[in-house]
Amino acid sequence: MSAHIAPRSLYFTIFGALMVLTGVTVGITYVDLGAASLPAAMVIAVFKATLVVLFFMHVRWSGRLVQVTVMTSLVFLGILFFHILSDYLTRGWLGVAGR
């Protein structure tokens, strides 16, 4: 496949969106969102990362092989977090001695 050449304006639009989202991330830190503040910050960060991956890193126009490879990283990260957290976050549940 020949490389897709995105218009310059698209890159500037993505840059603008990333800057605005950075401002929003800082902004919500000074608002009391309670327990929702960390998830909110992470949702914004994931969205920003997705913009970078899709457009700056050309994954939107990449072949299937690259797209699947990118998704693989999320699968491995999910395994890492799921199995470690399923241990640590549940240790207090049963009250067993020596937990």
């Binding site: 050449i5 995105a6 840059f15 990333l18 830190t29 009391d32 969102l33 490879t69």
Partner: protein, 221 residues
């Protein structure tokens, strides 16, 4: 079957085990992505440690995070996003075979990367001055949180330090790209190194996109 040897007039950058430049670029891009997957897991381990300690010491995390300068962190985030823009434009200039544009955008990317590291030096110096570097000289104003705060700063230095190391390696690669771009080595047909280093540079940007809110923006309301 076309191959590098049969075609005597092939591109000088084409290696003999590839059919053509397109296939060579696809292989290189794929290789960089596989490396980046391992990098996601490398940083993932540190994000995992961060998650557990924050879960165990939520109050200590807030207290320690307040000692980071949000303004400098936000400024550096903007600088790094800007450098990703100039990197993307350098890759685009390469795709179009615009040598002058490519040199300009590579120089801008290097400058923005250097600004980021410069700000990081200022921040690290400040932490040394205020005894916030983990170790025998660590001092925390709120004794209740001295232990978790030391853990926070261990995580802070480990993650931002590894990130900064990636930036330094990236600046080395960018300098090498710049020298080759000035010599006119990259053409419309072949700019694979620019493309591949670009992927690496954007990845380092993504790591910072997560580090900034997780380290600097913990409970300021």
């Amino acid at each position: 079957m076309p191959n590098g040897h049969a075609d005597t007039a092939h591109h000088p950058a084409l290696q003999h085990h590839f059919d053509n430049l397109e296939q060579q670029q696809d292989a290189a891009t794929f290789g960089m992505w596989v490396f980046l997957v391992t990098e996601v897991l490398f940083f993932g381990g540190m994000f995992m440690a961060y998650t557990l300690y924050r879960y165990w010491y939520p109050d200590g995390w807030v207290a320690a995070s307040h000692h980071l300068n949000v303004l400098l962190g936000a400024f550096n985030t903007a600088v790094l996003i800007g450098s990703s823009l100039t990197m993307a434009l350098a890759v685009r200039a390469g795709q179009l075979g615009e040598r002058r544009g490519q040199v300009l955008f590579l120089v801008l990317t290097i400058l923005l990367g250097a600004v980021f590291l410069g700000v990081k030096v200022v921040e690290y110096a400040d932490k040394f001055e205020h005894h916030l570097v983990p170790g025998p000289n660590f001092l925390f104003d709120d004794a209740r949180y001295a232990r978790p705060a030391q853990i926070f700063f261990s995580v802070y230095f480990a993650m931002t330090g590894m990130h900064a190391l990636h930036m330094i390696i990236g600046l080395g690669l960018l300098t090498w790209l710049l020298l080759n771009a000035i010599k006119g080595r990259f053409t419309r047909e072949w700019n694979t190194p620019v493309e591949v280093v670009g992927l690496y540079w954007h990845f380092v940007d993504i790591i910072w996109i997560f580090l900034f809110p997780l380290l600097y923006l913990v409970g300021h309301h």
